[in-house]
């Protein structure tokens, strides 16, 4: 955990969410964000998990919690052989994508997330 000027970034390794159901994953991530921490998640959520995360976020918006900012990066390995590609495809289908990185933070702290292939910029309020 890195703490700087009251800003907390919590790294969540993929193992921590791998065995959880989609519902449990979303609950876990939202609980962290609601503690005003920024999540750096190893891997990416599935499309339906992201829409569910948005829906759950909306359900919980109140005076203090105004929503989330979210972004993700998909890292692809061009040199992967086809056996590895198939294995990764099956793992992705079953568990979501372990490759990549997701940032989820409270909208009360993060104004915008900007990215390019080499940089991640978190614009704070």
């Amino acid at each position: 955990m890195i703490k700087k000027k009251g800003l907390t970034i919590q790294f969540v390794p993929y193992e921590e969410i791998a065995k959880l159901s989609s519902k449990e994953r979303i609950r876990k991530l939202l609980e962290i964000v609601k503690e005003e921490k920024i999540i750096l998640l190893e891997g990416r959520l599935k499309s339906d998990e992201k829409s569910e995360l948005i829906a759950k976020t909306m359900e919980e918006i109140n005076k203090k919690f105004r929503g989330v900012e979210i972004d993700e990066w998909a890292f692809t390995d061009r040199d992967e052989d086809w056996i590895k590609k198939i294995r990764h495809f099956l793992v992705n289908v079953l568990l979501g994508s372990r490759k990549g990185l997701t940032i989820i933070g409270p909208a009360s702290i993060i104004k915008e997330i900007k990215k390019d292939p080499n940089n991640i910029q978190l614009l704070t309020k």
């Binding site: 599935k46 499309s47 339906d48 992201k50 829409s51 569910e52 948005i54 829906a55 976020t57 909306m58 359900e59 918006i61 105004r66 929503g67 989330v68 900012e69 979210i70 972004d71 993700e72 909208a107 990215k115």
Partner: protein, 211 residues
């Protein structure tokens, strides 16, 4: 011979059933991308009336709006009938203070924010009900947002036919190439729902996605 006839009859009945089904055409996108402006344009063109109110303040549409039985005709006389579903814009954050900044009173702003959150939830729930979806993106804005990616990803996962439109091409800051680059798997159609630019092409594309 009996089998051939039986198959033919089955296919005929399937087609008949499919044709009679009410197609639900959804308009999805982030807030203020011009979904209701496009819905109004469609309704004005084919029904002679508007569908909903449009505003520069985000989250103007906070409830699912449905206009039933819109029939459009192409230049070959083919007809397409659908129920048009205009959905509230999907967002990951809603802050009532943003509405205060545009001159709303606190009570009104809080009410709007509360209704907007419910609207987002409804939009997401309704994804499963759609037969085809037009994703309306603002071509003057950054297209790589997680909201846009999530909407399109969900439609892809559900195998729902999609037409992506880059709206507001009448504005100088419009960058349709950027929208196209963000979603290379789709042919992005540039339109101006407000001024009707490319709207004939838009109707042609509707026939293609609802085939």
């Amino acid at each position: 011979m009996v089998n051939i006839f039986s198959n033919f009859l089955q296919r005929f009945l399937n087609r008949l059933f499919k044709k009679k089904k009410q197609i639900k055409l959804g308009l999805y996108g982030p807030p203020n991308s011009g979904k209701t402006t496009l819905a109004n344009k469609i309704c004005e063109d084919w029904l002679g009336e508007e569908m909903g109110t449009v505003s520069n303040i985000s989250h103007e549409t906070r409830e699912i709006q449905i206009k039933e039985q819109i029939t459009i005709t192409n230049d070959r006389g083919r007809k397409l009938t659908f129920n048009l579903v205009d959905t509230p814009g999907i967002a990951t954050k809603i802050d009532y203070e943003d509405f205060l900044k545009v001159g709303m009173k606190e009570k009104e702003a809080k009410k709007r924010a509360k209704e907007a959150t419910k609207g987002v939830i409804d939009s997401i729930k309704w994804l499963d009900n759609m037969d085809a979806v037009v994703v309306v993106l603002d071509s003057t804005k950054e297209p790589y947002s997680q909201v846009n990616i999530t909407i399109i990803g969900n439609l892809q996962a559900r195998k729902i036919p999609v037409l992506v439109v880059g709206n507001k091409v009448d504005l100088k800051s419009s960058d349709l190439d950027k929208v196209q680059d963000a979603f290379p798997q789709y042919k992005v159609l540039g339109i101006s729902a407000k001024f009707g630019k490319n709207i004939d092409q838009f109707y042609k594309e509707l026939f293609k996605i609802t085939r």
